[in-house]
Structure formats: C-alpha cells, structure tokens
Symmetry: C2
Subunit: 487 residues, 2 copies
C-alpha cells in the first residue's frame, strides 16, 4: 500500500496543507491542470468555483454520494467516509476508531481476510485508509472498469465484517508497535501529543487519534464490534467517487451495492464535551537527545470552518497566509531573511474540524539562537500585526495566491475527493466547499484584523522541543499529524 | 450551617491537613485530649493505634457501618458517605455529583423541602455536606438523643428524594454563582483548576469537583436523578457514627432505618481512564491584577495510600514532612529563614485518593524575589535531598511529630469520623487507618530516598501565580481545595 500524504509538508508552508479548501479546482467543467493555468498566464480568482460539475445525491438508506467526473485518465478514485473519528470514542477507549480501521481489512464471510486487498493488488490498484479526530475513510484507486467490484466489496464490509480473537489480538500488537515507532520514539510527536492534551483538557480532541497506550492495550473484539455496530451504517457515511465515471452509472451501481445495506444504527448528533476557558498561559518543554532541530510552536484554539461565524474562518485562512504562509510572509521575512535567527518560520490554521480547531505559529532557531529569543521575535511580529492589521496589498496577494494554489494542487484526483470527504464528515456541505473561493474574496483587511485580535490575544499553548546541552547521538523530528494512516 | 473545614490551612503546614492519617487518635479506649497528651509529657508513638475501640459491621443490604464511641460529651456525629464523587461522573456532566449533593436538601414525600434542616436547626444541631473527587458525604452533629431522627431522615433521602424542575433550576443557578464566586473570581483557584486540568489530561481528576461552567449549565433534573439512582444505594455507602453512643444501639437503629432501604443499584468497580505518561515539563502562568501574593507551585503525580505498593505512601508522608511540613523543614529553613527570599514555603502530599494523587512543593516569594529565582532555590533543596536522602535524626523527628500531631488533632470528633469516611470511600479499610502509625514507624531513610527518587525526578506540572508589573487595586488568594462544601 502506498502512503496517502494528507498534507503537503514543508517547513515553509504547512498552512495550505492543513486548510480544508487550500486544495481546490477551477470553474472549468473538468479540473484544469497546472499547465493550463500557466498557459493562461494566471487566473481570474474571482471566477473560481470548486468542482461545479459534481453530482450529489442521497440513497434511501441515508448514504450520501458525491460524484466528481475527471476524464483525464481511465481511472476511478473510490472513497467511503464514515462520520466517526477518535473524538467520538467512548471514554476510556481511545484508539478504538483507528483500531477498527485496521480490523476492517480482516474480511467478511463473502470476501475472507485478505481477499479485498489481494484483488486490488492483482489489478494494479492502490488502497489506503485513514482515521482522524472526526472521520474514518477507506479508499481505492483503480482502473475505472474495476469500480463496481470496489463498491461491492466496500459495501459488503460495511455490515458483514467478521472478527475473531485470533485476528484481533495480533492486530492490537501491530497498533501498539505503530504507536511506539511513530509517537513514543519521536520527541516531536510526543511533544505534539502532550500539547494537544493540555490544550484540549475536556474536549476529546485532546486524546491522540492512535490512542493512549494503556487504553489500546485494553481494546478487544467486543469494543471494536460495538463501535462498528454503532457508527458503521449507511446513514453515517459519505461515498465519494472521482474519475472517469458517469454520475448516472455511479448512482445505479451505488443503489445495487451500498443501497442494499440496511440502516444499522442511528448515531445521532455528534455532541462532544465543550472545552472550558482555562486561564493562564500553558507551556510544555520537552528535552530529548534525539532532537536534532529545536522547534518553537504556539497554538491557539480558534473556530473551524464548520463552527465559525460569518467569514471568521476565511479571515483566519488569510491571516495564516499573510503571517506565515509563504517566503514573503511576515514571519519568514522577519525571522529567516531579515534577522537571520531562524531556519524556518511559519503559521498554519486547521480549518477542517467539526468543533473548535487550532491556529499555530512556529519556527526553528538557527544554531546560536535560544528558543526564548525566537519566541520573543515571533511575539513582536504578531504584536505589530495586531496593532496595524494587514495591508490591502497583502490581502490581495494572499487571496490570489490561495486560490491559485488550489488550482495548482488539483492535479491530484485524490486530493479533490479528499476535500469533499473531509468537509462532508465535519459538518460542512458541498456548497460550502464550492463557494470557498467566493468567500475568500469577501474577506477584508478589517475582517483579518478582527480575527487576529479576537483569537491571537487569547492565552496560547506553547511548546519547546529542545536539545540537551550536550547533543545526543540520534536525530529525530516529525511533522504535524492528526491523522493515522495505514502504512 | 457551619463550615466544616476539610484541611487545617496554614501557609506553613498544609501538609498534615491534606494527609489521610494526619489526624488520628491514641490507643486509649477513648480518644485522649491535648491536655492528656501534654500531661503525659509526650507520647510513645510506637504504641499508637487509631480508634481501637470502634465497631465495624455491614448490614444485609450492603451498608457498611463504623461506630466510634467518644463519651466526652452527650453528642453524636452522624455521617453518611457515598462512594461516588466527581471522578465518577458521566463524560460531559462534570459537576453532577456536587449538584446532586445540593439537591439532596430538597426533601422527600415524608419530609418535604426544608423539613430536615429545620429540625436540625430547631434542636440546635449542625449539618453540612461535601463532595470531592472520590466521595460525597452528608453529616449532622446533634445531641445524642436526636441520633435516631437523623438516621431515619438520612435513610429516607437515600431512596425517596423528590425533585421537580421548580426546585432544580434555581439550585443550578446557586451552583453557577458558587462557581463564579469561588473559582472564576479567584485567580488562585483558577490557576489550581488549570493545573489540575493539564496534570490529569485523561483521568477525571483533571475536572473540577464543582464542574465546568458550560456543563453545569446543561445539568437538569434527569441527569441528577440518573446519578442518584445509579450511585445512592446502601451497598455504595458508609455510615459513620461517632460520639456518646453504644455500638449495639447504633446497629439496632441502623437496621430499623437504613436496613429498610433496598439495594437500588450495583454501581460496580470504579474504573477510571488511566493517566498517560506525557513527556515534557508542563507549566502554566497566570497573571492577574487581583493577585496580592505571588505563588510558585510544582506538583507531581504520585501513588495514593490506596494504590501505593509497600510503604511508598507512608514514605511520601514522611518525605513531605521533612521537605516542607514544619518551620524546621528543609524548604522553610532554606528559603524563609536562611536565604530570606520567601514568605512561606512548604510541601504537601495528598494521600487520600482512590487513584493516583499529588505531591507538591510551593512557596510565596518575598517582594523583590522573582518566581523563577524561587523555583530554582526550591529545585536546589530538592536536588540535595535526592542526592543525599534524609538523616536518621530527621526521620525520627518526623515520625514523632506526625503521630503526635494526630493526637493533638483528635479533639475533634468530626475529624476522626471524617478520616474513616474518607478512607472507606477511597479504597482503604478500617485496618489500614488503624495501623497507620505502625506503618509510619516502619519507614526507613532508604524508603524515603527511594520514594523521592522514584517520583520527584519525574516531570512535574509547574504553576506561577503572578502580579502584573503594575499592581492592581484588589487582592485575592485562596488555599488548596479539592472539596466542594455547602456554604
């Protein structure tokens, strides 16, 4: 299986990668390519709409379906998204959503353990699955003639999963090893895990997607099946099919496969415990000999695209871009280019979430710069922005770049499918996605200043990833991760 | 109602007040008084046993009963303890244990709203109730001839509580106001609440006993009654009667009152989510113009008397005493007397808890001393103790003082009853309480060093309570509180 990278990773610009609509497509009936955009000599961003040619319907059993035609190649991307993630887990069972994702590959009576994956390998397809705070998804990318088989087999495992203790116990060991190698052995991951935990002390976003070790160890077949029976039902799922397909044909296939799965449960509203307004600036310092690159990060809780009022979420998107989203951003210019105290500096805003989300600034100091010095320099950049706001010129350049970025990113059929899947499982609608460029156009310098003053003046959570004074023998660092992928 | 102070509060010595067995009585058949102890010219601490004359039995419906005769005055202390506290609340319903404690005063069909309290006032008695992380308790202190009425009325409200929306809604406003005045208006309380939340990120000890404001607002009659029906049952309660009473008579009265309450539920084992081993030193700084006295505190998670192995809990008791439990303690001597940089300094160990608990050091700087300087000075005192341990002389003085303190404290019949109630609702036994002085005698200097090295080397949670650089007009500070009392 290949690794589906959820975000574009770059020390310079993680911001786009973490935004919901940072990846998008143009108004033309088929997504335009990077070459198209370059040939046009730029884009009129005011005309951009996301995937205007998609079809969107709901089956009788409640399954929502989105079809996004893209005829550049005879392939189909098939993704089934469940509106359930780690933030929906029962108390004391952290990790069960991700554990079930692993167990979904254990087969059904019709397609025993391994048969689904073997077929995909045999036909030269690719598959993966991922669990996040708010959703769990399964996907395959295959030649378009194999789409019916994918739909039949994915629908089959929505209600016919067979689990035995013989397959469950070893898979739990696989997950424990995944946790050890990805989190425990990685100081950067451990710091992020701890920062999340002290940032969301009551809301379940404070628990890691992969789960706390002691709770993973207690997971078993019954816990996984209870979770499956409660949340894996057509009325709690979204099917996304992108590629060289006809919407009517997809609908017919969906009715013949998914349409035959009964409603298995009524999961109801996704109400999570609210996060209380803790007072005080929270900090966490992690010093580890495996750190090769020190890092400062500062995170605030902010509204997401799903729960923000008016254009607050879009204003935060723009704010993140201006503050730290490019090599001409405020932070990069001040810290890397002018003062030369940082190797990298930037910001990100994670717009995609059912509940409140995160806005962060970060940087890695040059050797010789201490983390408190970097922190103070970043604070000064923010203070200037809070006092004076951003300029009309910065705003215009940000808007153009953000929508252009979306065009450049849309070469990936998978990315586009993923944008809609993530949106529809975190409280947004198809229309919300499609109108994102128009909403970005509406953002004013005043909106950005108001959003900055409303949220960046609140007390943040601050993290220091530090080297001991005597450097250790090993190196290790990692990038942002709120999604557990099958490897 | 009078206020039952749960701990002796003193800037110098909060330690004793927070320990389970810091208050105790001597081996004589009736508790000896301070005057007795002074008249004897000291105590042979090796002979001390706690309340050797108590009676302990269980009714057929599962109610556990402890009777502690104390014939110094014709009064009786009657306490009913439930093995349920805020750490047993359903997710998203923080505060429901404390809210129900308030609602328990709303009456039954036999004794309508106010009748119980009115009777107590009419006979010159006192009553109170309190909720903590692990237990909820109701108590009255009355002339001994009124004990039967107390038992009848307390047993009545164990199963006959009548609640209507008309009494529930206004009481919720009372609790919200209690939260505002005790926590929100008090920077010291807010800092402690935040420190608890970032210390226990997964275990429910991270939520305040009084509840998060947004969740208190959502509490209602149904939530309170569901909690009542699940946990208020004789097999989940402990009755403590202390005073001028005969055990046989108390047993007969208990059978005729509490004995008639059916088992209403089987609450089962009290299994809470475990606390993960977060890496990194966590800090929180709260700056507020209402702070008149700055304060540093540093807290580690440690075993409690209920879940510690061997003599670890007793060794932590001794460690706390030597480190910061008196005016000749290491911290007080170094910071207040020798270096004169602190107005107060000390430590405490909270032994009473069902699950892991807290060990803390703290201090308030003299004007002119910055909190980081105080922090470093405290760290140096701890480093010396970690390196060299404590002396035999310190150990002997600590043991003698701790048991003697217990004797001096036992003048309060209420305190003694409270020790047993807290112990029996947090996983300890009558025998555990009775043998505490003997176990303290067994602690060696090596035990103390091992306990210090095992826990004080772990990464703590650190809190700074700070004044702004320009002092504000108001003053406010508060002392440790993990218990919500009716006021």
């Amino acid at each position: 299986m290949f690794s589906l990278v959820p975000f574009r990773k770059s020390a310079l610009r993680p911001t786009v990668a973490l935004t919901l609509f940072g990846l998008a497509v143009a108004t033309v009936s088929a997504p335009i390519t990077v070459a198209d955009a370059q040939a046009r000599g730029g884009l009129d961003v005011s005309q951009i709409t996301i995937a205007p040619n998609l079809s969107h319907f709901t089956l009788e059993n409640g399954l929502e379906v989105v079809v996004i035609p893209d005829r550049r190649a005879p392939v189909a991307t098939h993704m089934l998204w469940y509106k359930v993630g780690s933030a929906d887990e029962p108390e004391g069972q952290s990790g069960v959503a991700h554990f079930l994702e692993h167990l979904m590959f254990k087969g059904t009576s019709t397609h025993p353990n391994g048969a689904f994956s073997k077929l995909i390998a045999d036909i030269g397809g690719r598959e993966n699955a991922f669990t996040s705070l708010d959703y769990t998804a399964y996907f395959q990318r295959v030649g378009k003639e194999h789409l019916p088989a994918m739909m039949e087999m994915e629908a089959d495992r929505m209600h016919n999963l067979v689990l035995t203790d013989e397959v469950v116990a070893p898979e739990r060991d696989v997950v424990l090893e995944e946790r050890r190698s990805r989190v425990d052995a990685n100081p950067g991951s451990r710091l992020r895990e701890a920062m999340d935990a002290i940032m969301f002390v009551n809301h379940p976003y404070g628990s890691p997607v992969i789960g706390w070790e002691s709770e993973i160890k207690a997971l078993n077949k019954d816990a996984a099946l209870a979770f499956y029976d409660r949340f894996y039902t057509p009325n709690n799922a979204v099917l996304i099919v992108a590629g060289d397909v006809e919407p009517d044909e997809v609908r017919r296939l969906a009715e013949n496969t998914y349409g035959k799965v009964p409603r298995r449960a009524e999961p109801g509203a996704r109400l999570r415990p609210a996060e209380p307004p803790l007072q005080g600036t929270r900090r966490i310092e992690l010093e580890d000999p495996r750190v090769r690159q020190e890092r400062f990060s500062q995170v605030w809780i902010v509204p997401s695209s799903s729960n923000a009022e008016s254009v607050t979420s879009e204003a935060l998107d723009v704010l993140s871009y201006v503050l730290g989203g490019s090599s001409s951003s405020r932070l990069y210019t001040a810290l890397v280019l002018d003062r030369e105290i940082a190797l990298s500096a930037g910001s990100y805003y994670q717009a995609t979430a059912l509940d409140d989300s995160r806005f962060a600034v970060f940087g890695s100091p040059k050797p010789g710069t201490a983390l408190p010095e970097l922190e103070q320099a970043i604070a000064r950049v923010i203070d200037v922005l809070l006092a004076d706001g951003i300029s009309e010129d910065e705003l215009a350049r940000a808007k153009h770049a953000m929508v252009a970025d979306a065009v450049y990113a849309q070469d990936s059929q998978t990315s586009l499918a993923r944008i809609f899947g993530a949106a529809l499982t975190t409280g947004s609608t198809v229309e919300d996605v499609q109108s994102w460029p128009q909403r970005i156009q509406m953002v004013t310098v005043e909106d950005v200043k108001q959003a900055a003053r409303a949220y960046l003046t609140k007390e943040p959570v601050i993290g220091y990833l530090k080297m001991p004074k005597q450097p250790g023998p090993e190196a290790n660092d990692a990038s942002a991760q709120t999604t557990e992928e099958r490897s």
